[in-house]
């Protein structure tokens, strides 16, 4: 009887059920999309923040002091210690290797450039542009094109194995060099493949493939420093603790959190004779920006949940209020309060589940759309979200119906049937 009552109610009152169901579906859609966006926004913004450049730097442990003004090194380039290029793929072997979005080695070399017969002292910068590297079975591409997205080249980027170079725009305008020109650099004939504009010190330099710089310096395999771009977690008091003072489980927790400090620690472990450090200008500030944006989206998600809960409640209250004559009839025929209420609650649960499933599907599609159109990447929706969303939908629908059901059940059947409140 009970099942039949509920079934018939759905069969005969399609319009009303559709209206309430639509409200629930819409509410769940908005909730799903917002929760999915809010849980993923940290990662997305973190990746956007990586466009500001590397946040970690690896240097030789026993290096002499840098004597550098405006990006121009005034110290003999062979001075000091070097890292080994052969060790670099190990960066992809650290615990947080999935958080390393890219790295670029740097080797500055002083050289003499000759053009139209005039010699000029310049700094050469050897680096990777977009180098294929393999570590174990892992294949990946890294270099300045991914770590420094604000570097703009007119002309073409050189191949990493080629003998082509990029010339900084201020140097190029001084030498009147254009893409395709030949230059004599440290006694070698090289071709300028493009003009580089960075807004920084590189505008006065010549950027060359790493192997070429090593050849000119006469130190194969040498790298002066490595800039690493990593996705990190905002630093807190725990992050600042000295790993040497930690023990056991606490050390493991520190080591296995993606703080800038712990990733730097792991980099120094992976590369022999190295010292790794966060670049505070980038690393410190991205934590602050990230926290703000995450906080904002979290608060807005709360607002979205609240307003969709309210929409669902309002729709349910209206739907039940309209049926007070029906309640009156049932009560006049001898139904108890409990029997009437349980029919309404069963209907509400059914509606919530149907609306929840449909809304979850639509919301997932919506979240994907937002991810694609704004961030150009997938927004992942954790499967655990489905039961959570369904539970929220049922609770909200119940809460929205409860007041209306109580009023409907409390009505005197005589008044209800006569249509007076």
């Amino acid at each position: 009887m009970f099942v039949r009552l509920v079934y018939e109610s759905f069969r005969r009152q399609k319009r009303r059920k559709l209206l309430a169901g639509a409200a629930i579906t819409l509410g769940v859609t908005v909730a799903t999309a917002m929760i999915a966006v809010a849980t993923d926004i940290g990662d997305k913004i973190n990746r956007e923040l990586r466009t500001i450049g590397a946040n970690l730097v690896v240097t030789p442990q026993e290096d002499s002091l840098d004597v550098e003004i405006g990006g121009v090194s005034l110290k003999p380039p062979t001075d000091g210690a070097f890292l080994s290029e052969a060790d670099l793929p190990k960066i992809k072997g650290i615990f947080w290797h999935n958080n390393i979005t890219g790295f670029a080695p740097m080797l500055p070399v002083n050289a003499v450039i000759e053009r139209n017969g005039k010699p000029l002292d310049v700094t050469l910068l050897g680096t990777y542009f977009a180098k294929q590297i393999s570590f174990g079975t892992d294949q990946f591409t890294t270099g300045v094109r991914s770590t420094y997205p604000w570097w703009k080249v007119s002309g073409a980027w050189p191949e990493d194995s080629s003998r082509d170079v990029l010339m900084g725009e201020r140097l190029a305008s001084r030498l009147d060099a254009k893409p395709g020109n030949e230059i004599t650099l440290a006694g070698q004939q090289l071709q300028v493949s493009g003009i580089l504009s960075t807004g920084g010190a590189e505008d006065d330099e010549v950027v060359v493939p790493l192997g070429l710089a090593q050849g000119i310096l006469g130190r194969p395999d040498a790298v002066k420093r490595v800039y690493v771009s990593a996705l990190t977690k905002p630093e807190d008091a725990f992050a600042r603790r000295d790993p040497k003072s930690l023990s056991g489980a606490i050390y493991d927790r520190w080591y296995c959190s993606p703080y800038p400090q712990s990733i730097a620690f792991q980099l120094a472990e992976a590369i022999p004779h190295s010292h790794a450090e966060q670049i505070r200008q980038v690393a410190q500030n991205e934590g602050a920006v990230l926290t703000r944006i995450e906080g904002l989206i979290f608060l807005i998600t709360l607002a979205a949940l609240f307003s969709s809960a309210l929409a669902v409640s309002a729709a349910m209250a209206t739907a039940i209020f309209e049926r007070r004559a029906e309640v009156g009839l049932m009560k006049a025929l001898g139904a108890g309060k409990l029997a009437v209420a349980s029919i309404f609650f069963a209907e509400a649960t059914l509606l919530a589940l149907i609306g929840g499933f449909v809304g979850f599907g639509v919301g997932s599609v919506l979240a994907h759309q937002i991810g694609h159109s704004i961030f150009n990447s997938e927004i992942s929706i954790p499967p655990v979200l489905l039961p959570v969303i369904l539970a929220i939908a049922v609770i909200v629908t119940f809460a929205g119906s409860a007041a209306a059901i109580r009023r409907a059940v409390g009505l005197d059947p005589v008044f209800a049937l006569r249509g007076e409140l």
Binding site: E48, D66, W150, E277, L299, S307, I374
Partner: protein
């Protein structure tokens, strides 16, 4: 008649009004945040330091009044710090970069510097001493890597530049993970007196939208013809990207939330109007024309819409201000330009939700409605 209608059916009217208030409040808060968040986040990005640098053309020094020009162009819209750089020699002949700067300005510009103790500069006393021929030692901020090379025991040491000797006392250390770690920072007054070199770089953190920053750069180029004004592209492009993405996400969220709120109002109000089909039928049976009926229901809806929008606006401003305080530690400024938008939107939604059911009911005979079918 309008008032009595509202008073008699208080319960339903109140719930409709409540829905309207919530919707208007949410819409106001979202629009306000959307407009204001840009400015708030830009301020966060200024913690990244300079977005403009002014350097002397071809490495030359800037004129002595360059900093004053920069300050007058900025006029409170940012902060600037001068830097003079030379390569000096330590006692054992090792080259080291020494920078002269204004510590008070650097403290505000480069907030990421991890400094153990900022040097305090007793300016007048030091100058008096120098004039009297008793060179005092200059307090300095030593980069963590430089410290090991020049003053491993934190002792006073000497630096020489073109034969001039400077006594330096380490006051604190600076750590940044970049070039600063290998440098020694002294006050600009000490630097100029010692080397005779004027600052060659002014780092400027200008606040405002990209257009405002471009305007400041133009003014700087005109004010300092001897300098080269360059944007720090790394910072500017990163800022633009992150702000753009955040704004789009916020817009998508705002659209979803406002849509839900509007639909909530629509369903509540439509229910309310449907509920009153008896009133409608009686009025019609007593001879009211279609126009009077339309006007009556529309006026009621408009009153609810306007009242709800006004109260909701105030509540929404409050919510936006609260979010601003919690998340950005600065209240979101109320935007009055949002009010007409919210008001118009509310009226449109309420009118729509009144007119829709009425146009359906108009076709039905009053007798049918009154019989309750």
């Amino acid at each position: 008649m309008l008032v009595r209608a509202a008073v008699l059916r208080r319960g339903r009217a109140v719930s409709a009004l409540f829905a309207m208030i919530v919707a208007a409040a949410v819409a106001t808060a979202m629009l306000n945040l959307y407009v204001d968040v840009q400015a708030k986040l830009r301020r966060e990005f200024r913690n990244y330091g300079a977005n403009i640098v002014v350097v002397g053309t071809d490495g030359a020094s800037l004129p002595a009044n360059a900093l004053a020009h920069v300050d007058s162009v900025l006029a409170g819209r940012g902060i600037a710090a001068p830097f003079g750089l030379v390569v000096a020699r330590t006692g054992d002949g090792q080259p080291i970069v020494v920078a002269g700067t204004d510590f008070e300005r650097v403290k505000q510009l480069d907030k990421w510097w991890s400094v153990s103790a900022w040097p305090t500069i007793p300016t007048s006393r030091a100058e008096d001493a120098r004039e009297m021929g008793h060179p005092e030692s200059s307090p300095a901020l030593i980069g963590v890597r430089a410290l090991a090379a020049v003053a491993p025991n934190n002792q006073t040491f000497d630096l020489s530049f073109q034969g001039h000797i400077l006594h330096v006392t380490p006051a604190g250390t600076v750590q940044t993970g970049a070039a600063e770690d290998s440098r020694i920072y002294i006050s600009l007054a000490d630097f100029v007196a010692w080397t005779g070199v004027q600052p060659s770089t002014i780092e400027v953190a200008a606040s405002g939208s990209p257009e405002e920053v471009a305007g400041i750069m133009n003014q700087l180029t005109q004010a300092i013809p001897a300098g080269d004004v360059r944007p720090v592209r790394q910072i500017m492009e990163g800022e633009a990207r992150v702000l753009g993405k955040t704004r789009s996400t916020l817009l998508a969220a705002a659209a979803l939330i406002i849509l839900t709120a509007a639909l909530c109002v629509l369903s509540t109000l439509m229910g309310w109007v449907f509920d009153r089909r008896r009133d409608f039928a009686i009025m019609k049976a007593l001879g009211a024309s279609g126009r009077v009926l339309n006007g009556f229901f529309a006026a009621e809806a408009a009153v609810i819409g306007a009242t709800g929008a006004l109260i909701g606006f105030v509540v929404g401003i409050g919510i936006a201000a609260w979010i601003g305080r919690v998340n950005f530690h600065a209240p979101v400024v109320p935007r009055w330009s949002v009010l007409p938008v919210v008001l118009a939107g509310s009226m449109a939604v309420t009118l729509l939700s009144a007119i829709l059911p009425i146009s359906l009911l108009r076709r039905v005979q009053p007798a049918v409605i009154l019989r309750g079918e």
